[in-house]
């Protein structure tokens, strides 16, 4: 007796996994960056502008890894 049957292409599971796994690390990383930036601007409000710029830079570098996973999920077919 067949209880459950899944039909379809196995590569769609791969697509989901690629992006999901690629998002874990950058998610944690961006959280740490934002936390540190808030910390810094709470301690030294006069440097808030500078730490915001640095925060965006850090987010941009970290986010790139997640976006590679995102693009890769389109390439997998």
């Amino acid at each position: 007796m067949i209880l459950a049957e899944i039909t379809g292409n196995i590569s769609s599971v791969g697509k989901g996994l690629v992006y999901g796994l690629a998002a874990i690390g950058p998610g944690i990383g961006i959280g740490l960056i934002a936390a540190s930036a808030i910390d810094a601007s709470a301690r030294q409000p006069e440097l808030a502008g500078q730490s915001r710029t640095t925060m965006f830079l850090g987010i941009a570098f970290t986010e790139a890894l997640a976006l590679f996973g995102f693009v890769l999920s389109f390439i997998i077919s």
Partner: protein, 260 residues
């Protein structure tokens, strides 16, 4: 699953969403939007700077804070307050407005498509930035000193170079332009797909409420609110991506100016 069962809800695939028919002369909607964005950003800067007044009026009022922002927050903050860095303010300002116009087409009704969600544009911009920071580095530091500064950064014991030099080579000359292009491209593809899914869902639930109101009346408000919220978020993303592209260009060119 509830809705996809036979009622004709069709979420378009990525290929469908990003394919456009050609309009002739090798031009399609993407090319047309690029030309439009270039013309708009040229017009807005030219008109704003044509009759400069001490007390700004009209469009000069709009563009002066942007110019000040690029000059103070991007160039002076990142590249330093030096004459050779300040020469880059017009370049970075134009880059910012061009990318911003390209991105903002995503939420303009009737267009609803960011041309930067096709890889060609971001790739071209990234290659341009690659040439700019390399040529600027060679001009202001000399060929030997520029490449030595990147590949053999001073102040580390020599065995580290076995590990460090290949990493620096790949990260500066390959990963930099690649991430610059992919970041802009992937953010807008994701945003456009997300908007399309929410809007199709809203339209579908709205059209089905009249026929069979059973479960859809509960879902429709959430789909609608999600679509409106995503619109706002995408406007924010359009600004932030233009800003990030500009500031990363400033960082790369600034490193070429000063040395590593």
């Amino acid at each position: 699953m509830l809705l996809a069962a036979g009622n004709g809800l069709h979420i378009p695939t990525t290929e469908e969403l990003f394919a456009w028919p050609t309009l002739g002369f090798g031009l399609n909607k993407v090319g047309l939007l690029y030309i439009l964005a270039a013309v708009l950003s040229a017009i807005i800067w030219i008109v704003a700077s044509r009759k400069q007044q001490l007390v700004p009026k009209g469009i000069q009022n709009l563009m002066e804070p942007l110019y000040t922002f690029i000059r103070e927050q991007v160039v002076i903050e990142v590249m330093g307050n030096r004459p050779d860095a300040l020469r880059y303010v017009p370049f970075l300002g134009t880059l910012f407005t061009f990318i911003l116009f390209c991105n903002i087409f995503e939420v303009i009704p009737g267009i609803n498509f960011p041309p930067t969600a096709r890889m060609a544009g971001p790739a071209f911009l990234a290659i341009m930035v690659w040439f700019v920071f390399n040529v600027q580095g060679i001009i202001s530091q000399g060929v030997g000193h520029y490449f030595k500064g990147i590949l053999f950064p001073p102040g580390v014991p020599w065995p580290i170079y076995i590990l460090l030099t290949p990493i620096e080579l790949v990260s500066v000359f390959i990963v930099r332009p690649l991430t610059l292009a992919v970041r802009l491209f992937a953010n807008l593809v994701a945003g456009n797909t997300l908007l399309a899914v929410f809007l199709i869902f809203t339209a579908y639930t709205f059209s089905q409420i009249w026929k069979d109101p059973s479960p859809l009346i509960a879902i429709f408000p959430f789909a609608f609110a999600g679509a409106v919220g995503m619109m706002g978020f995408e406007i924010f993303v359009a600004f932030i991506q233009a800003f990030i592209f500009t500031i990363l260009t400033a960082v790369y060119v600034g490193e070429s100016l000063h040395g590593h």
